[in-house]
């Protein structure tokens, strides 16, 4: 999961920032025999990962696809999914980068506890996360009741509920990738910038962000993909209301029981989006070899 730590294409050869990939390349040139058991298990793993997509591809109603995709339910769910997941990725970035900075650059008591809390949503069952959000931000929740009493606004069962649920599960991805990158950055460059007259904010913008850019990009895209595929926390916290909180994954699960063709069409869309992300990010995850 340590995406991009140490991957910065723009460092001088003498800089201690470049390491990992060069080592990987060196190791590749030394051939070592692959034990037959390993080869067989690797093939099994590949088949296991590929079979569901083959199944989907074989059963998908390709002929009706253009028409299914244009149905109001699918269009609405797709639009809601895109809007809420992009908002969630934005919130995750705006909040996650500063949290990563604090975790990587400051020392305070209980830091490991804070780090654990920040990554908890990654390992928590999403339904539990959604329930926790409901207890905190729901209309009768700890904070939600205050908001509702004062403004009449309630997060659950609204589009913003979807955004909050998505942000909750996506934020740790930004925190983890960016913190890893920040910890491997050579801080002497920041010192050099400060002697050249740059204040902390300028140093952050002009030196730190460019040097962690590949990891930051990876973190944002991971967060966005996570928010896009989010189901459990969303359905628990925001409900499954068509046209309001029914995102594409929720629509798929509903459609599976009513209209299998529609479910498959929407699945194809989600696979296509995920696959595009992988293609765009392949240079980052699998640097050219």
């Amino acid at each position: 999961m340590n995406v991009g730590a140490g991957d910065s294409a723009s460092t001088s050869p003498s800089s201690p920032r470049t390491r990992t990939h060069r080592m990987g390349r060196g190791r590749r040139s030394v051939p070592s025999g692959t034990p037959p058991v390993v080869a067989v298990l690797a093939i099994v793993a590949l088949v296991f990962l590929a079979v569901p997509f083959v199944g989907l591809g074989a059963r998908a109603p390709w002929g009706q696809l253009p028409q299914l995709v244009r149905s109001p339910q699918v269009v609405g769910a797709l639009r809601l999914s895109l809007v809420t997941s992009l908002l969630a990725a934005t919130i995750s970035t705006i909040l996650g980068v500063p949290l990563a900075w604090v975790l990587s650059r400051t020392v305070f008591p209980g830091k490991s506890l804070v780090r654990a809390a920040a990554t908890l949503p990654m390992v928590l069952p999403p339904v539990v996360g959604g329930a926790a959000l409901l207890f905190a931000l729901g209309r009768r929740g700890l904070i939600g009741s205050q908001i509702h009493d004062r403004t009449g606004f309630a997060l659950p069962f609204s589009m913003w509920g979807v955004v909050i649920a998505g942000s909750f599960v996506a934020l740790p991805f930004v925190v983890i990738t960016v913190e890893g990158a920040l910890s491997s950055v050579d801080t002497r460059y920041e010192q050099a910038a400060s002697t050249l007259g740059a204040g902390p904010m300028q140093v952050f913008r002009r030196i730190v962000v460019p040097s962690i850019a590949p990891s930051l990009r990876a973190g944002i895209i991971l967060a966005w993909a996570r928010a896009l595929g989010e189901y459990g926390a969303t359905v628990t916290f925001a409900g499954n209301i068509e046209g309001r909180t029914q995102t594409l994954p929720l629509a798929v699960s509903v459609a599976l029981e009513q209209d299998r063709d529609a479910a498959m069409a929407m699945s194809v869309i989600l696979v296509a989006i995920s696959f595009t992300v992988l293609v765009v990010m392949r240079r980052h995850w699998w640097p050219a070899r």
Partner: protein, 355 residues
């Protein structure tokens, strides 16, 4: 008070640094010391990256750090141009963007900053490199870009941390000459941090020797050579360094009415000649032999360094000579003794150099 006046006291774990520094305007002072002497801590303290524990830093009358008075000016407001070890050029920016960094970060308009950077780059021979990325520069070029970046914003002081250490010998001599020229053109105080006596003695007006966080000796290169205060200084300053002009295997020295024969006949132009103290042989009477360098002088001082005795000879060529105590006895040498000195041409190292 113009220039830098600093009393730097920093504690880093067990290490205790306590140094008095005074660099007048228009002068280059070198801090010469081995690794671990506290050189980088001094850079950090002056640049504002390491706060003082005690003491004070004052630049042109402005207090930059005074723990007692609760004064601490952060690095971005110190106006000290720093050339860092390894240069630390910003890899994601072009040479131009590196040079203008110190101007745009101080809110100068991009257009004005670029014009000023272009003028500076022209004067430093960097005009053709402005569009390159740091990864596309040679070591010597990177060093000069780092210097240009540090000088572009018109700092009140220049701080050079091992500016030549990353370069190979040939590049080093050429870059040293360019650095000497650039330093001459900078009118504030200049502090050079180095572990290399050649850099210190060539580039600086005064040299402080730093050992274990203390300045153990201060002087001109000549004073340090003649009267080393510690074995480290003796070893460091023991090398005889001369500048001159080479032609056909003969070097006419700049500062002394003397010529030195060298083995390399292909070398022409300004050179830096070094003679190791143990390469010089001493004789009571004029010897007959193969040594191509032979001259008579007078013993000016004799000092025991333990296993060896260090003699300095005076005119026509001041030279430091290390011999065994037995040789001193055998030759009956004492202060004022006339003596013949010889050095084989092959024992003399000559490199193309400055001035």
């Amino acid at each position: 008070m113009k220039g830098l006046e600093a009393h730097i006291v920093v504690k880093v774990g067990e290490f205790h640094l306590d140094v008095d520094l005074n660099v007048p305007v228009g002068k280059t002072v070198a801090l010469l010391g081995p690794n671990g002497a506290g050189k980088s801590t001094i850079v950090g303290a002056l640049a504002g990256l390491v706060p003082l524990y005690h003491g004070s830093i004052e630049l042109n009358g402005e207090t930059l750090d005074l723990p007692r008075g609760d004064v601490f000016v952060p690095p971005q407001r110190r106006k000290i141009g720093v050339v860092f070890q390894d240069y630390l050029l910003f890899d994601h920016m072009s040479v131009m963007d590196n040079i203008v960094f110190g101007l745009t970060s101080r809110k100068m308009s991009k257009a004005r900053a670029r014009r000023r950077a272009q003028a500076l780059a022209r004067s430093m021979g960097l005009a053709d490199l402005l569009d390159r990325l740091p990864a596309q520069l040679s070591g010597g070029q990177a060093q000069r870009v780092a210097l240009a970046r540090a000088m572009a914003f018109n700092p009140s002081m220049l701080l050079l941390d091992e500016p030549l250490a990353a370069l190979d010998i040939a590049t080093r001599n050429r870059t040293r000459r360019l650095l000497a020229e650039s330093l001459k053109g900078f009118h504030g105080p200049r502090l050079l941090i180095t572990h290399d006596p050649v850099d210190a003695f060539i580039l600086a007006d005064r040299v402080h020797i730093l050992e274990n966080g203390r300045i153990v000796q201060t002087g001109t290169p000549d004073e340090l050579r003649r009267y080393p205060a510690t074995p480290f200084v003796a070893a460091l300053a023991g090398t005889n360094l001369y500048t001159g002009d080479a032609k056909d295997g003969r070097v006419v020295l700049d500062d002394w009415d003397h010529q030195i024969q060298i083995a390399d006949t292909a070398l022409n132009g300004p050179v830096l000649v070094t003679i190791h103290p143990s390469a010089v042989a001493l004789h009571r009477d004029k010897p007959v032999g193969s040594a191509r360098n032979l001259w008579s002088g007078t013993v000016e001082s004799i000092e025991s360094l333990g296993d060896t005795v260090r003699l300095t000879l005076s005119e026509p060529l001041p030279v430091v000579v290390d011999v065994t105590p037995r040789a001193v006895t055998a030759l009956g040498l004492e202060q004022g003794s006339p003596v013949w000195a010889s050095v084989k041409a092959t024992e003399i190292v000559a490199n193309p150099a400055c001035s």
